[in-house]
């Protein structure tokens, strides 16, 4: 009987396992590739912010709004683009964040802005954890329905709780202390712009590090193959709940920034249309790519501003048309377009 024909070569020893060895460089090489477009967009946005600071006095207020929308878009992209959780009710966390600092200021006299951000993040995270437990039992359409349902309920509560929220009239008379006791909010919006930019920068750094970490990669893994992630040892449900809570906190911070910089909170921050809009922004930019979401937020907010100035009556039509065109020609979002542009400018690689 001949032995099976597979030949065994002498092989060099595997390196000796040493259990206490330093953890391998987990961060190195994560999220490589794809970085060209990210870098291009980062530079573009950075230059845009600088130019606005230097020359665009009349755009400072708009600039804050853009930065706030960017934070909000990031929070949604973490869910939709990375973890594969869909939501049509994320405005609830944005709104709850806004109302938290609003109510703290108007009813309790807590006007410190940075503590306000923490408060908003904490309240939104609590609500996120509580509703997340239920939302994450479902998937797809179920998630859409539940997130929408919770958002509608909170909207109606805010509408009815007039003594607390001011109801349909909004929360008037909000006061915000100078940032760090030094920088007062001015009427030109310079402080507001710099403040939101600083918070945006911190959130972006956090989100980039998080998505490149093994934790962030595991979210993508869960989106692509839940059973497999479980089989390599990830507690899927817990991890989804953690990112849902985190995303809620970031949305809460965005909402708080809006309240602080506009010193007013209205029911619109909880409205369904805001939930829809932010989802569109993420899709427009390119879901699953942080810099896509950021670019989407900028483009959408600027379009909205310009179009409503050019054609106050029918601007929603033009916005719709523009979005349709972009989706048709850039199915992977604006960042997909950037990818293609960069690839076209690069000489063909020979593998």
């Amino acid at each position: 009987m001949p032995r099976p024909t597979v030949r065994v070569e002498p092989v060099k020893r595997l390196s000796v396992p040493h259990p206490g060895a330093a953890a391998p460089s987990t961060w190195r090489g994560l999220a490589m590739g794809r970085t060209g477009s990210d870098l291009a967009i980062a530079i573009l946005l950075g230059l845009g912010a600088l130019a606005t600071l230097a020359f665009g006095e009349s755009y400072w207020l708009l600039g804050s709004q853009v930065a706030i929308t960017m934070i909000f878009a990031l929070s949604v992209d973490l869910l939709v683009g990375f973890a594969g959780i869909v939501t049509l009710g994320h405005a609830v966390f944005f709104g709850v964040g806004a109302y938290s600092v609003g109510i703290a200021s108007v009813r309790l006299g807590w006007t410190e802005p940075l503590l306000g951000l923490l408060l908003a993040a904490a309240v939104a995270a609590l609500l996120g954890a509580a509703t997340g437990v239920l939302v994450l039992r479902t998937r797809g359409l179920g998630q859409l329905m539940l997130t929408m349902a919770f958002a509608s309920m909170v909207y109606e509560i805010a509408n009815r709780a007039k003594p607390l929220t001011g109801g349909a009239d909004g929360l008037q008379g909000m006061v915000v202390s100078p940032i760090l006791g030094l920088f007062d909010f001015d009427i030109f919006g310079l402080t507001a712009f710099l403040y939101t930019l600083a918070v945006l920068a911190a959130v972006v750094v956090f989100a980039v590090l998080m998505t490149r970490s093994p934790y962030g990669r595991s979210l993508v893994g869960i989106r692509e193959n839940r059973v497999r992630m479980q089989a390599i040892g990830t507690g899927v449900q817990k991890r989804l709940l953690s990112v849902y809570t985190l995303s809620a906190a970031l949305a809460g911070i965005a909402g708080a920034l809006l309240a602080q910089t506009s010193q007013f909170v209205g029911l619109n921050v909880l409205h369904f249309s805001l939930s829809g809009e932010i989802l569109i922004i993420v899709a427009l930019g390119g879901a699953g790519r942080l810099w896509g979401a950021l670019l989407g937020a900028v483009v959408f907010t600027l379009f909205k501003d310009r179009l409503s100035a050019l054609d106050p009556a029918y601007w929603y039509f033009w916005l719709g048309l523009l979005l349709a065109v972009i989706v048709l020609f850039a199915p992977k979002g604006l960042i997909g377009l950037v990818d293609r542009l960069l690839a076209a400018g690069r000489p063909k690689e020979t593998a």
Binding site: M1, V11, R13, P17, G221, M229, I232
Partner: protein
């Protein structure tokens, strides 16, 4: 001191399992010693894959005990079982398409003897492809990646489900070399489910033949290599072809 025997790493006792109400595995028992390698062969549809899925907790267990070391893992969820020391390389490989090779490897990383460097040492091809996306790999590369990903969870028992299925012969040869290296140089316990009897028998000193959800043979691979007629009888037409000539 209680008796903490570690010689049996994985033990299945009277396991009955399947999908929903359907029972695929009937009253199946076996033990796997620490560091032991076991091949499982059998005709199509006898429950080989279901057996691995059951060990992993992906099926419905109707009865029986599944022990991992001193721990009864039968009631644990799959992720807890992975933490307890099971590494599973599924038949479909199930690479994450939008993670790079390196990200695929690191996504399940748990500390232990297996490091990125050691996996690259075992599969140099993966190092060359480390920045490629999961969906840009050939079948063989995907299989290497699936191995590497499982190894980096630093399991005690590695479960391989038909690792050579659908691969070109030259790739099978390469992969098999890597597996032999793994067999000879690591203290991992390994269960390999395989269609090719030739490879299966050459891989492990012990082979189990399954038939209709039960163990039809469990013994030295040598016995079956030396007795092709018996192997044919156990595995049916085709099962023994690799050994017969």
């Amino acid at each position: 001191m209680p008796d903490t025997r570690t010689d049996s790493t994985l033990s299945l006792t009277n396991v009955r399992a399947g999908y929903g109400a359907t029972v695929v595995l009937e009253d199946l028992s076996f033990d796997l010693a620490d560091g032991e390698k076991l091949s499982i062969i059998g005709r199509n549809g006898v429950g080989k894959t279901t057996l691995l899925a059951t060990i992993m907790g992906l099926t419905r267990l109707h009865a029986g005990r599944i022990g991992l070391g001193a721990l009864d893992i039968a009631a644990l969820r799959p992720n807890r079982r992975a933490h307890a020391g099971l590494g599973f390389v599924p038949q479909q490989r199930e690479i994450f398409p939008s993670l790079t090779v390196e990200e695929n490897l690191l996504v399940g990383l748990r500390p232990g003897g297996w490091t990125l460097e050691r996996v690259y040492d075992l599969f140099p091809r993966l190092q060359q492809r480390r920045t490629n996306m999961g969906n840009q790999l050939s079948g063989g590369e995907q299989q290497m990646l699936a191995f590497g990903r499982a190894l980096l969870t630093n399991p005690r028992v590695l479960l391989l489900d038909e690792p050579f299925e659908g691969l070109a012969p030259v790739i099978v040869e390469q992969l098999f070399q890597a597996l032999l290296r793994l067999r000879d140089e690591s203290r991992l316990s390994i269960i390999m489910v395989e269609q090719h009897a030739k490879l299966a028998l050459a891989f492990a000193p012990r082979t189990m033949v399954m038939s209709r959800g039960r163990v039809a043979f469990d013994g030295a691979s040598r016995t079956l290599i030396d007795d092709p007629a018996r192997l044919d009888a156990l595995c049916g037409i085709g099962g023994g072809i690799g050994v017969a000539h």
